[in-house]
Symmetry: C2
């Protein structure tokens, strides 16, 4: 099967490589074109524009930064719509606005193009190892058609609902992450300041109602006040903006997510945007009298 | 071994029963004395005051509501100190101030009485089944002496550090709970309002960085907007006050815990204090346009 893959960032490049390894015929495109070269060495074709990449493909995957980027590579003057044959399926694996996703899917349907949203979680490690969680929104038929391709990139693949449902689920994922990281940051900060042996504390509380992935896997960063990647603060910040915009439009109040977004704005301003999200503990420590 | 158990609340009565089942000679006391009667039927002795209960015991356990209650039953005019023989070990299993715990332990040491703090988590179910997590602060020797008794009531027993460390760990536990419940409340509220199939959403996000005990075990309450016990809002509220007081004294900033405490104040005022802590989602739903 011929696949076009647009967006050779850290995530996209690793995901496209897994498609090549699975035996798909992959054509790649990236705005900064030299990023296509490593994939070419691994057997991919290159295309000068999203339209050109799409012309050769049955399935087009987009994995770019934000809503305007997806709109540009899909709908723009050199976008997928200007190259794709009727019936082509577009799988958007970026994290973008659920509302914009629904609008785009409807516009594409009028041009006899299919679209599903399939944002991921699991970070660059999950992308490399092909173990991403993939949250999928779209019609039953389109999701079924995409499944062999998605299975080459991820493990926990859930068809959540219609167009946009994948993006809304990703927004929920980022809200949960915001609160859990911030809560663990507060708990660890108190324990560190109180002089407790935090490994023992985590053993004591981790098995019960206070337990979380973050407590098990990221409290160590917060204890040592070192935040190697991981998942970048600036990416979570961008995703929280999408979640907060959605919440505003729906009339839902998200006080903790909003607090996390504000704290992350400060972290980014201080030059910590490329640290792991566990750097929320850096902010709590800086607010507190913790040396 | 002779044990005095002071405080026959839901937790204390269940814990004392497990001591009886384990073959300990137990004398119980409760301010409202008729609460002692069920335990008497199960084989416990009764005592009219904490002092009288302590007179017969090698180990005295206190499991009462709050800091002033522990101070009263231990140090008050009819308190443990007026009955206990030198060398008696007091195990306080209430959730109270770590600072007051340290002061009390020091005062008791001058009277040749030993004390450890051993607050629990796991709720009334854990108390009944003897599966409580127990967070222990005190000297190595005193904790070792208490261990056979604690093992009759709990499973995950961790000696965290010196006097007060158990209570500080419990405070951290309640901070983690505050943020995780509130975050899941926000995520679920957004998903419900967006019309998603929330069971699918939880499957999609629960295995990754957004995963938590609360998401796995309490999101169901939040989806149906029904909050059966569980762990009472009013008890978590009281415990958060202890955590926030400690944080103030240490100079640590806990914005999410403080927000949860404020929201819980409103829930209690609205008559929801005896619902499960997952009722934080009731508050988020009430703030939002969710019917």
């Amino acid at each position: 099967m011929k696949i076009a893959f647009i967006g050779m960032g850290t995530m996209g490049a690793a995901m496209a490589l897994n498609l090549l390894k699975a035996g798909f015929d992959v054509t790649v495109h990236n705005r900064t074109r030299e990023r296509e070269i490593p994939l070419e060495k691994d057997g991919a074709n290159r295309a000068a524009t999203p339209a050109e990449a799409a012309a050769k493909a049955e399935i087009v995957i987009t994995c770019v930064s934000d809503t305007p980027d997806v709109e540009r590579v899909v709908m723009g003057s050199e976008g997928v719509v200007h190259g794709a044959s009727p019936g082509t399926l577009i799988i958007d694996m970026s994290t973008i606005s659920p509302e914009a996703t629904r609008v785009m899917a409807a516009a594409l349907a009028k041009q006899h193009l299919k679209m599903i949203d399939a944002p991921v979680s699991g970070g660059s490690e999950g992308a490399k190892e092909g173990t991403l969680a993939i949250m999928v929104g779209g019609s039953k038929e389109d999701v079924a058609a995409a499944m062999p391709v998605l299975e080459a990139m991820g493990k926990n693949i859930t068809h959540v609902g219609p167009n946009g449902a994948g993006q809304t689920t990703k927004a929920i994922n980022q809200i949960l992450i915001a609160a859990t990281y911030l809560g663990v940051a507060e708990g660890v900060s108190l324990g560190v300041k109180a002089g407790l042996d935090m490994e023992k504390v985590i053993t004591a509380v981790g098995g019960g109602a206070a337990g979380s992935w973050v407590l098990a896997h990221r409290s160590g960063n917060m204890i040592t006040n070192q935040y190697p990647l991981g998942f970048r603060v600036r990416h979570h910040f961008k995703d929280l903006r999408i979640a907060l915009d959605l919440a505003r439009n729906l009339g839902v109040t998200l006080p903790v997510a909003a607090l996390a977004e504000q704290i992350e704005a400060g972290l980014i301003g201080q030059g910590h945007g490329d640290e792991d999200v566990s750097a929320l503990a850096r902010a709590i420590r800086n607010l507190s009298s913790i040396s």
